[in-house]
């Protein structure tokens, strides 16, 4: 592990820190690193850094490493950390802000998660609602794993739980409009 020279690191980190803070509404210095968030995180076992460590990286001038971390992409948004945090730090929002910034810089450590979400939102933009069957097919094609969950599809079809055809809402323009305006507001390109 490389030694970090902090004076330069901290100075260089400032703009990223400010950006993440303003987008998430989280004040990073609120965190005193007690670890209660990470102690109760149900997905931490799969993460490279614990959520607390992601905050630490951002506090310490190592925001670049936070952007490369898988952790924000594996956050299940379950709100356990936020509900128990003694400083009421909205970690899920922070994780969102970090991964959005990472994506803006072309860093996508969890490609499958990214593809799934894109497929999901594409469907919503196109039809106004999520369409599970189409979504699964899209996702599998894009992640090059055509037979993933294939065993689940026939019983789902059989149980009339998914339909092969998407259902489009009538006023689809109003939804498309939302997507368009959010893009204009400078939101991410999805």
């Amino acid at each position: 592990m490389e030694r970090v020279e902090l004076s330069v690191a901290l100075r260089n980190n400032r703009s990223l820190k400010n950006k993440v803070e303003s987008e998430s509404g989280v004040v990073l210095s609120d965190c005193y690193q007690c670890g209660k968030c990470s102690a109760g995180c149900p997905a931490a076992f799969a993460m490279d850094y614990t959520p607390r460590q992601v905050i630490r990286l951002l506090q310490l001038g190592l925001g670049g490493e936070a952007l490369k971390s898988h952790t924000p992409w594996l956050c299940a948004s379950c709100q356990t950390c936020y509900s128990r945090c003694p400083r009421e730090i909205n970690l899920p929002r922070l994780m969102e802000a970090v991964r959005q910034e990472a994506k803006r810089r072309g860093i996508i450590p969890e490609r499958k998660v990214d593809i799934f979400e894109k497929a999901f939102l594409d469907t919503v933009e196109k039809y106004g609602r999520a369409h599970e069957m189409g979504l699964m097919v899209q996702y599998n094609l894009r992640t090059l794993q055509p037979i993933k969950d294939a065993l689940l599809a026939p019983p789902l079809l059989l149980k009339r739980k998914i339909s092969p055809l998407p259902l489009k809402i009538k006023d689809i323009d109003s939804v498309k409009n939302i997507f368009a305006k959010v893009r204009n507001e400078g939101g991410s390109k999805q």
């Binding site: 987008e23 149900p42 997905a43 076992f45 799969a46 594996l74 299940a76 948004s77 379950c78 709100q79 356990t80 936020y82 509900s83 929002r93 969102e96 991964r99 959005q100 994506k103 969890e110 499958k112 998660v113 593809i115 799934f116 979400e117 894109k118 999901f120 939102l121 919503v124 106004g128 609602r129 999520a130 369409h131 599970e132 069957m133 699964m136 996702y139 993933k148 969950d149 689940l152 019983p155 789902l156 149980k159 009339r160 739980k161 998914i162 339909s163 259902l167 809402i169 006023d171 109003s174 939804v175 409009n177 939302i178 997507f179 305006k181 959010v182 507001e185 939101g187 991410s188 999805q190």
Partner: protein, 288 residues
């Protein structure tokens, strides 16, 4: 008792039986549901992970329609409920956000109406006393674990109708139906729903812990109020059992299905035959 009704995408597909049973019990309990016409997706996890504003505007579209009717919105899906509460609170707390969202929607939305979890409506608006009066088939003998997951009760400031660590709404309902609600330690642990498609490996580990703890606590079935929880615990149960070389075979119910059974509907009418882990044998074994 009239509410705008927002089923959400899952209830049109993998959670068809939740929709079916919710509508049936609503009818029996005198809850009038006005389905939001031409409702659209709340954006789910994907939206808030990728764009905060989008994650508010998508649910707000539906809330705005209900607001014009002057109705609170009853939402069966815990995830939709959470997203709609988030949007509603953000708009209510900031005039600036109200302006931005109204602008994006192209129509005014002030968040004067409230999102309510359907579970909250059933237990707290209808009330357990009235439900008890209508029970024709008590669920006597059933040992059930109420599973709330995350988004129904967290973060508490947002969800507000029950305790984030020791929620009891569903337990009280189970007891009112004469079944036994077990005390167990995983009732609010996350099932990893949002990760289950892209990172099934992670999701399977998470659901196995939940299923195991419910079984070890003596549960014969798990009751939930979230289509993602049910989908995960039910559809991926076999996989979880295989990965962990364990036998599970725990039927998963929507609270509306059990309520429907107690109110006298046939399991088939409630969609109970569409689950992966067949719950019918358990019901039959208990004379239901």
């Amino acid at each position: 008792m009239k509410y705008a009704y927002y089923p959400g995408c899952s209830l049109e597909a993998t959670a068809k039986e939740y929709n079916l049973s919710a509508k049936l019990v609503a009818k029996k309990l005198g809850i009038e549901l006005w389905e939001i016409p031409d409702w659209s997706c709340c954006g789910a996890t994907a939206a808030h992970n990728r764009d905060y504003l989008l994650s508010l505007a998508l649910p707000a579209r539906n809330l705005a329609i209900a607001e014009k009717e002057g109705l609170d919105v009853a939402v069966p899906c815990a995830a939709c409920f959470n997203r709609m509460r988030t949007a509603e609170t953000a708009v209510r707390e900031s005039r600036d956000m109200q302006k931005r969202i109204s602008e994006i929607l192209g129509s005014e939305y002030k968040a004067t109406n409230k999102t309510r979890a359907f579970l909250d409506v059933v237990v707290n608006d209808v009330g357990l006393e009235r439900i008890k009066e209508q029970v024709v088939k008590p669920l006597k003998g059933l040992k059930l674990a109420a599973y709330y997951g995350c988004l129904l009760v967290r973060p508490p400031k947002l969800t507000s109708f029950d305790d984030p660590e020791e929620p009891m709404t569903m337990d009280r309902l189970i007891e009112a139906l004469d079944a036994e609600a077990l005390s167990w330690s995983y009732k609010t642990e996350c099932c990893g729903g949002s990760l289950s498609t892209a990172r099934t490996d992670i999701g399977v580990k998470m659901i196995y812990q939940i299923l195991r703890h419910a079984r070890d606590a003596g549960a014969e079935g798990i009751v939930t109020a979230c289509p993602l929880c049910l989908l995960n615990l039910d559809m991926r149960q076999a996989q979880a059992a295989r990965v962990h070389s364990d036998q599970l075979n725990l039927p998963i119910f929507y609270f509306t299905e059990l309520l429907g059974v107690a109110l006298g509907y046939e399991p088939k009418d409630l969609g109970l035959d569409t689950h992966f882990v067949n719950p019918v044998p358990l019901l039959e074994a208990n004379g239901l």
